[in-house]
């Protein structure tokens, strides 16, 4: 059956909507449940994110992070989970990846575990 002309027109308009997204962050959802030792594309972006906020130190070869889920990444994830009040598993579970994909303050977290002073309110 031929569609009436104006319906065609409105469809064209819909396709012109531009979806705003920030590909740097949202790709983390693909990394949920990636296991230690595996080599998965996108892990290097995660390392770059954790480096940005102080959880991964400078890499030996000038921060060309690899896509291997190594021991350093596992401990960085554990420290991240500890600081952000998540269950400390060292794994890329859903709640951790969701939080990493959420917008946040640009100030690094280094003061939470390096020379910063940490006190707990009782």
């Amino acid at each position: 059956r031929n569609l009436p002309e104006e319906v065609e027109e409105s469809t064209a308009k819909t396709t012109q909507t531009i979806h705003v997204s920030n590909s740097t962050w949202h790709d983390f959802s693909r990394l949920v449940d990636v296991q230690k030792g595996s080599h998965v594309s996108g892990v290097s972006d995660l390392k770059r994110y954790l480096h940005r906020f102080g959880y991964v130190g400078d890499d030996d070869d000038g921060n060309n992070f690899s896509d291997v889920f190594d021991g350093r990444l596992e401990s960085a994830i554990s420290l991240y989970q500890k600081n952000l009040g998540l269950p400390i598993t060292g794994r890329l579970d859903t709640s951790t990846v969701t939080l990493m994909s959420s917008p946040r303050c640009g100030v690094s977290d280094t003061h939470m575990f390096n020379s910063g002073v940490r006190t707990t309110a009782h």
């Binding site: 740097t24 917008p103 303050c105 100030v107 910063g116 002073v117 006190t119 309110a121």
Partner: protein, 191 residues
């Protein structure tokens, strides 16, 4: 709650603040932004013996507030919509930068429709003022100083964790009364 290394703080009881006249948003009026900041500063000055005075001269103000996009020369480039929202520097630097690429909203209760990536300006302002005063990030998800804020959410009332941290740094505002913390009543009861 945490502090920056060395626990830097301001040693004055009145801090001036000003807005950049060039690095600003064109879709929010300066009155909108000023109203938000008056509220956000009041949250903190309610608790500690520090008051905040709005001034015109950006170059001489203690606290300098602006909206910047991408690489803006302080070594911490912004990254477009979502991602990093803003950053502020520890005492006595005084700079507070918002990512101009975000969709900043004021006075929205987010109960109706609207952009799925809208970010509440007052919530982020209240958080970054905590940094300007010397507070670091908190591990308490309910705290204003928790580093992450989901789009379309509001977090403008100081919790016990925020108040305890800033009180330890500056001491209490002599006029502080518990009910002036009404916003944190729930947290106090649960504190």
């Amino acid at each position: 709650y945490t502090y920056f290394g060395g626990k830097p703080k301001w040693n004055r009881d009145t801090l001036t603040y000003a807005f950049s006249k060039t690095h600003k948003l064109d879709y929010l009026t300066s009155d909108d932004v000023k109203t938000v900041f008056r509220r956000a500063f009041a949250k903190w000055s309610n608790v500690i013996p520090v008051s905040f005075e709005e001034v015109d001269d950006y170059t001489t103000a203690d606290l300098k507030i602006g909206f910047f996009a991408g690489d803006h020369g302080d070594g911490q480039p912004f990254d477009g919509v979502l991602g990093t929202l803003a950053h502020a520097f520890a005492p006595e630097n005084g700079r507070l930068h918002f990512d101009a690429a975000e969709i900043w909203v004021v006075g929205d209760d987010f109960k109706g429709k609207g952009s799925s990536v809208a970010v509440d300006l007052e919530s982020v302002a209240t958080h970054e003022i905590g940094h300007l005063l010397g507070l670091g990030h908190s591990s308490e998800e309910s705290a204003v100083m928790y580093p992450s804020l989901r789009p379309r959410t509001k977090k403008v009332d100081l919790t016990v964790d925020d108040v305890a941290g800033v009180l330890k740094l500056y001491g209490a505002n002599p006029k502080l009364t518990l009910n002036s913390l009404t916003g944190t009543e729930y947290s106090l009861k649960n504190g």
